[in-house]
């Protein structure tokens, strides 16, 4: 077991009476891309600013390489940040911006020149050193910000919503580039984002935050396959939830009663605190992902599957796949993700045609519904 590069220990942050971060503990391994993911106001930015040193925890401590840096000011931490607005100095040339951090270290002028050239090459801005920031595109400004931070050879690079301000095309290119830069430099990246796709595509591990609390930390795949609760399930990808009204045990197996699904035998580990014969289950939901749902027109039985009937709704074409809406009743509809061939076949059926959505019972999760 290697020592984590960053260790967040029991950190809380209160602003007046508001708790922005509630007792979070978290280890970040050296050399990984780690994402802090959550909706706005979940405390992820506050946590990032704490790592940078711009905020101080009300409780707990932050360790870098095992050493407490809670009281260290931002300019003395071997941690650098790429700001959401990029914060490129508008009155300096690109080269001056990139050199700024080295000048603060009183690096020799000749060394600064070579390292600035290297850094600009690394982010594919060679030859643009004499430009002023307002002569650059948004993507180029971001590269300046990244080069300016990486040139200091920090232990950790913090990136605040690195892709959110870029347009879709540029975003994909920059995402790949960030991964490449991380591999090349070997620096640990910590990314703050509200965008699950950004987090899943970039990060080795993701911490999901909600309301200042840490919900789950794991690899994108594990979060997707084994979310701890409905909030995480819904935040990492999409999910349909069915409220559970009652769970009882029949011959050691769980029988779950969920709103439109009826009683189902679920072979999952029995949740803690669920006693045989006792009617619990409130506060729990059954979940299924749209991509696990199939659609058929006839009522053929698929072993291990459960079938819900409804009428055809709208089809949203999304290239390789389409999202099909199935109306189950007036208040409830499910969407399924189907391939193009199926979508074309379903497109021929008119609205109001009866279809059957089906999915494997084993693909469903029994989760605690989000506390809020």
């Amino acid at each position: 077991m290697t020592e984590p590069i960053i260790s967040i220990r029991g950190v809380s942050k209160r602003f007046g009476g508001v708790t922005a971060i509630d007792n979070i503990s978290l280890d970040i391994e050296a050399g990984e891309i780690f994402a802090l993911l959550g909706p706005s106001g979940c405390g992820k930015s506050t946590l990032l600013r704490m790592l940078a040193g711009f905020e101080h925890p009300s409780d707990g401590s932050v360790l870098l390489d095992g050493k407490d840096l809670t009281r260290l000011p931002p300019n003395r931490r071997p941690i650098n940040m790429v700001f959401q607005s990029y914060a490129v100095f508008p009155h300096m040339t690109v080269a001056k911006n990139v050199a700024y951090g080295l000048e603060m270290e009183r690096t020799k002028r000749s060394e600064i020149r070579t390292r600035v050239a290297q850094a600009l090459e690394q982010v594919q801005l060679e030859g643009l050193g004499d430009r002023r920031p307002d002569q650059l595109s948004g993507g180029q400004r971001q590269r300046v910000a990244v080069a300016r931070a990486l040139i200091k050879r920090p232990r950790v690079l913090l990136l605040d919503e690195p892709l959110s301000a870029l347009d879709a095309k540029l975003r994909d290119a920059m995402r790949l580039e960030l991964v490449k830069l991380q591999e090349m430099s070997g620096v640990t990246f910590i990314i703050v984002t509200h965008d699950q796709y950004e987090a899943m595509a970039l990060a080795d591990r993701i911490a999901v935050l909600e309301n200042g609390c840490l919900r789950q930390v794991d690899t994108p795949r594990s979060l997707y396959n084994n979310p701890v609760d409905a909030f995480v399930a819904d935040f990492i990808g999409n999910v349909h939830t069915f409220d559970v009204s009652k769970i009882d045990l029949v011959e050691g197996r769980m029988r779950v009663h969920a709103d439109i699904l009826g009683p189902l035998m679920i072979d999952k580990p029995i949740p803690e605190g669920l006693l045989p014969g006792v009617q619990t289950g409130r506060g729990r939901v059954l979940t299924i992902r749209p991509e696990s749902i199939g659609i058929k027109t006839g009522e053929t039985y698929v072993p291990g599957h459960l079938t819900v009937s409804g009428t055809m709704g709208d089809i949203a074409f999304q290239g390789q796949h389409s999202v099909v809406e199935i109306r189950i009743n007036n208040s409830r509809s499910i969407s399924a993700i189907v391939d193009d061939a199926t979508a074309r076949e379903l497109d021929g059926l008119g609205h109001e045609t009866t279809v059957h959505a089906h999915w494997a019972v084993a693909d469903m999760h029994l989760l605690e519904s989000s506390i809020n």
């Binding site: 914060a87 100095f89 009155h91 951090g101 002023r132 307002d134």
Partner: protein, 309 residues
């Protein structure tokens, strides 16, 4: 705008006329009279004849007047500098305070504006006088220090005089500068505030994040970016300070005359309207020159930004 005004000349004239009329009647006309007077001579006690003489302008270069001009510039310059040094941190504090506190702090800055200048200046007399409040405070501090020295047994060491001699503020340049700074400070703070308020604070954080200290961040990021506001504040403080009349008159006790006091005397006691006119216009030219320089520097900055886009 220009095009639209051109398309509908009637509307342009109708809306513009009151303003233009006002300017003609109360600005262009009196200035023209002053301009004519400045090339004229007194022919009797109440009559000035425009003879086209340059004598009035020549007299400006007499050593006595030049000395006063130089003093005016010096006092205005020092006052401006002090205003900037005091005003910048104040503007920064207001710009970085909470949204709720901001309007109140700005109100406090603006409050003196709504009090008559004469009353404020007389109030300063009360503070700065030889037996004024400031000297009272100093006497009190002096007494306290002496007592403290007594207690630690150093009263005979000659560190402090037995008796505090009140400091003369009135009738000195220092007193006049004090008064001008007091009057001009809000003018300096407001443009500084407006430029600091718009500044992206993450630029300052980025500087610190990259290893700079507070002072380096101020010098290399905050100040260069605030420069347009600093220039505006300097011009807006310097120009009125240069033409200050009431403050040197009251706080200077007639011993620290600035150029405006000389001008006033020409129109009143000396009854030399032609010379007074020439002096007034010269002061006006200096002001125009400063404003022109400011406009040029703005235009250059704007052009540079345009070229980049």
């Amino acid at each position: 705008m220009q095009q639209r005004a051109g398309q509908r000349p009637a509307a342009f004239i109708a809306t513009g006329l009151p303003g233009i009329g006002w300017l003609l009647a109360f600005f262009v006309a009196p200035l023209s009279i002053i301009l004519l007077y400045s090339f004229g001579e007194n022919v009797s006690l109440t009559q000035v004849e425009t003879t086209g003489t340059l004598e009035n302008y020549r007299r400006i270069f007499e050593p006595e007047i030049l000395k006063l001009g130089w003093r005016s510039i010096r006092i205005a310059f020092i006052s401006t500098l002090i205003c900037l040094v005091i005003g910048f941190p104040m503007a920064l504090v207001i710009a970085t305070s909470s949204q709720r506190a901001k309007p109140w702090l700005l109100l406090l800055i603006m409050l003196p504006f709504w009090t008559n200048l004469l009353i404020r200046t007389y109030a300063l007399l009360n503070i700065l006088g030889t037996r004024g409040r400031l000297n009272e405070l100093l006497v009190w501090l002096h007494g306290g220090m002496r007592q403290a020295l007594d207690i630690i047994g150093l009263s005979e060491a000659g560190l402090l005089a037995d008796r505090f001699t009140p400091i003369t503020f009135l009738g000195t340049e220092g007193g006049v500068i004090y008064g001008i700074v007091y009057v001009s400070l809000p003018f300096a703070i407001l443009p500084l505030y407006s430029v600091l308020e718009r500044m992206d604070t993450s630029l300052l954080e980025a500087s610190i994040d990259l290893g700079a200290g507070q002072w380096t961040t101020f010098r290399r990021v905050l100040l260069p970016l605030a420069l347009p506001g600093v220039l505006t504040a300097a011009v807006i403080t310097f120009i009125p300070a240069l033409g200050q009349f009431l403050t040197p008159d009251l706080l200077g006790r007639g011993q620290v005359d600035m150029i405006a006091n000389v001008i006033e005397r020409q129109f009143k006691r000396a009854n030399d309207w032609p010379f007074g006119s020439a002096l007034s216009l010269t002061l006006l030219y200096v002001t125009f020159l400063l404003l022109t320089l400011r406009a040029f520097s703005d235009a250059r900055r704007a052009r540079r930004t345009e070229n980049r886009g």
